[in-house]
């Protein structure tokens, strides 16, 4: 027997996940334009791994496979992983990262809805700790490239670890703008002269800044279609902007301007696609603001003062731990039980 309500809004988890994946398309487009088609390979690879491991885990856990596979959440995780690690990574890096995310970070905690940590960020964190060198070989954008490997060559490197003669990795990969900034600052170069280097564009890194713009566009689409609320992205980007702005104002020679921070690294991806993962973020409005602001602060601290090139992943994971506490302390007042302003 069914009980009321007998009608439901035509919306489902799988549709939501699909819409989020749709919102990643602009960024993927920018990726294709600036860095070539190899990203499609790693996206596919991650997707296949995610679906396969998810299905296997569901079987092992004696859960119905079909409805959970149809919810598309594994696919979304796969895409996020592929987009947050270097596209020209060896194939096993993608596979290991995705499998770890699905098996350990998601299914072992009870599957969809029960994982305390963002699976994609767990994958990123595990990979950067275990394989730090592989994680720093980012593709050089098309306009800066010296020697083109070609798609076939990229595939050969990815799956066979073979490079053409007289070519080194450095010919077509480079460190990220964040990384470059950090090393150069260490060497005592001033911000203004660092930014004069060709890898830096108008906002942040050449090419990668446009991918970030792609994420921004997708994020705005998500907000406009009410898949996400404004709280998390606005609080995250706003806080990051303010914190970076303060440091930049105090010492412009050593601290990058705020816009650089917003458009480099995983900031945009994180603001719209990682923090907004409902399972691992707070449920209350106030909680969301606190969560995102905390993540922004941690991101900045790790980026500027920490040892890792980007702080997004660790900031997210650290804040994930705090979610139950944040939720508990930000419970809103219910109808009729607040001070009435009338």
């Amino acid at each position: 027997m069914f009980y009321s309500p007998f009608i439901r809004k035509p919306i489902s988890v799988s549709q939501i996940m699909l819409r989020v994946m749709l919102a990643l398309i602009p960024a993927i487009g920018a990726y294709l334009y600036y860095f070539g088609p190899i990203i499609l390979v790693s996206l596919t690879l991650a997707s296949i791994t995610a679906v396969a491991t998810e299905a296997a885990m569901l079987k092992l856990r004696n859960r119905p496979v079909a409805p959970f596979l149809q919810d598309n959440s594994a696919l979304l995780t796969a895409w996020l992983i592929a987009l947050s690690i270097p596209a020209l990574a060896p194939w096993w890096l993608v596979v290991v990262g995705t499998a770890f995310a699905i098996v350990i970070a998601k299914q072992l905690y009870g599957g969809l809805g029960n994982n305390p940590f963002n699976p994609a960020m767990i994958a990123y964190a595990v990979l950067i700790i275990s394989f730090p060198t592989h994680m720093t070989h980012w593709l050089t954008p098309a306009m800066l490239i010296h020697a083109d490997l070609g798609f076939a060559g990229q595939l050969a490197y990815m799956f066979g670890n073979v490079l053409p003669q007289n070519m080194t990795l450095d010919a077509f990969t480079m460190a990220t703008p964040l990384d470059t900034l950090k090393t150069q600052l260490h060497l005592g170069t001033a911000i203004s002269s660092i930014f004069g280097q060709p890898i830096f564009g108008g906002l942040a890194g050449q090419g990668s800044e446009m991918v970030a713009v792609g994420f921004l566009v997708g994020g705005v689409y998500l907000w406009a279609t009410r898949i996400i609320t404004w709280h998390l992205p606005v609080a995250y980007l706003g806080s990051l902007f303010v914190i970076a702005g303060i440091f930049h104002l105090i010492d412009p020679a050593h601290y990058a301007p705020p816009l650089f921070h917003l458009f480099s690294g995983a900031a945009m991806l994180g603001a719209f696609f990682i923090l907004t993962d409902p399972v691992t973020s707070p449920t209350t409005h106030k909680g969301k603001l606190i969560f995102a602001a905390g993540a922004a602060l941690l991101t900045y601290l790790i980026r500027v003062f920490g040892g890792f090139p980007d702080g997004m992943a660790f900031a997210t994971l650290l804040m994930n731990i705090c979610v139950p506490l944040i939720d508990l302390y930000t419970q809103p007042k219910v109808f009729g039980k607040k001070e009435q302003a009338r």
Binding site: N62, R63, P64, P67
Partner: protein
């Protein structure tokens, strides 16, 4: 270094003293644990636990002389509550103690000879009647302990399980079609 240690030790001693003092000063009279356990027990007063009522059983539990899985009327829920209260592991019922649905006693008034034996057995004074007069049960006060069954010389008391009526009906736990295993 030494001074720091001393300071820490000093703080620890002072705090300990304060705690000890508070424990003496604010000690609750009586044995609140027994009352707390008693509050969790169903008060059927049936003696199935092997004690002459719920309070004695509570006292025995508090003194660690009885296990927490001896009260069938409380059901598994009751054991769970006791386990939580006493910080113990949940323990299922043994073989000889099985909970059954709650019931009320009913006296067949045509057979009753008015011997007053059941009145004396009832732990909650839920039977009214006088010598040589027919007896009857105040259903609202009957706890369903079955203690009145045995003394009756003409076996005129029956236990009627409480039927589900509109006023005691409960919504059921929603069934989850998706997950065969929780």
């Amino acid at each position: 270094m030494i001074s720091a240690l001393l300071v820490m030790a000093g703080i620890a001693i002072v705090l300990g003293a304060v705690l000890g003092f508070a424990a003496i000063k604010f000690r609750v009279e009586g044995n609140p644990l027994v009352d707390k356990i008693d509050a969790v027990l169903p008060q059927t007063q049936c003696g199935q636990c092997g004690f002459p009522g719920c309070k004695p059983y509570a006292t025995a539990i508090a003194a660690e002389e009885a296990d927490i899985n001896c009260c069938p009327p409380g059901g598994e829920e009751g054991i769970r509550k006791l386990a939580e209260l006493l910080n113990k592991e949940f323990k299922p019922f043994g073989d000889n103690a099985k909970p059954k649905p709650k019931a009320v006693a009913y006296i067949d008034e045509n057979t009753c000879i008015g011997c007053t034996l059941c009145i004396q057995a009832c732990p909650v004074d839920a039977i009214v009647g006088a010598a040589k007069q027919m007896h009857t049960i105040i259903a609202a006060d009957c706890t369903g302990c079955e203690l009145c069954l045995a003394p009756c010389p003409v076996d005129c008391i029956a236990m009627n399980p409480i039927e589900e009526t509109l006023s005691v009906w409960k919504w059921k736990y929603p069934v989850y079609a998706l997950s065969p295993t929780p």
